[in-house]
Symmetry: C2
Subunit: 85 residues, 2 copies
């Protein structure tokens, strides 16, 4: 991931059937921007579908994860700040 | 722009002929991810073309700007961290 002093931005791809397990970053906010495909996102108590062009926000400390239950690749531009050092 | 405590993410669009003048953010890193189109980016002493799928990084304090000299809209997902408060 390209890393600045304050933020990092990277690409996460999930193939159909793949899941990123629910987890939390204490002290770091995360944004998922959906580049292609669609996924089922969990943020805290909410579960929602998001597709290309949509932004999903997981504030610091809130558990979050995503599953690709669709038939095409799910590509996500992921921003985490502050960056892990 | 959606704003977390630590980061903000937003969409900037430049029509053909539009320019974002060179400027700097003291204490904040900026990432441009090119969603569509292409642009001429300036970061510090460097000037480079970037097109869809490419990431341009402007570290804290480094002057940066972008011009759309192409014939289609330039759409940028922009991340700034830490967020302006």
């Amino acid at each position: 991931m390209p890393i600045g002093d304050n933020v990092m931005v990277g690409l996460n791809c999930l193939e159909p059937g793949q899941t990123q397990k629910t987890h939390a970053h204490s002290g770091a906010d995360k944004f998922y921007f959906v580049l292609e495909g669609q996924g089922k996102f969990i943020v805290g108590d909410e579960e929602r579908e998001a597709a290309a062009g949509m932004l999903v926000v997981a504030p610091s400390g809130i558990p979050h994860g995503v599953s690709n239950n669709a038939s095409e690749r799910l590509s996500l531009l992921v921003t985490i700040a502050p960056s892990f050092k």
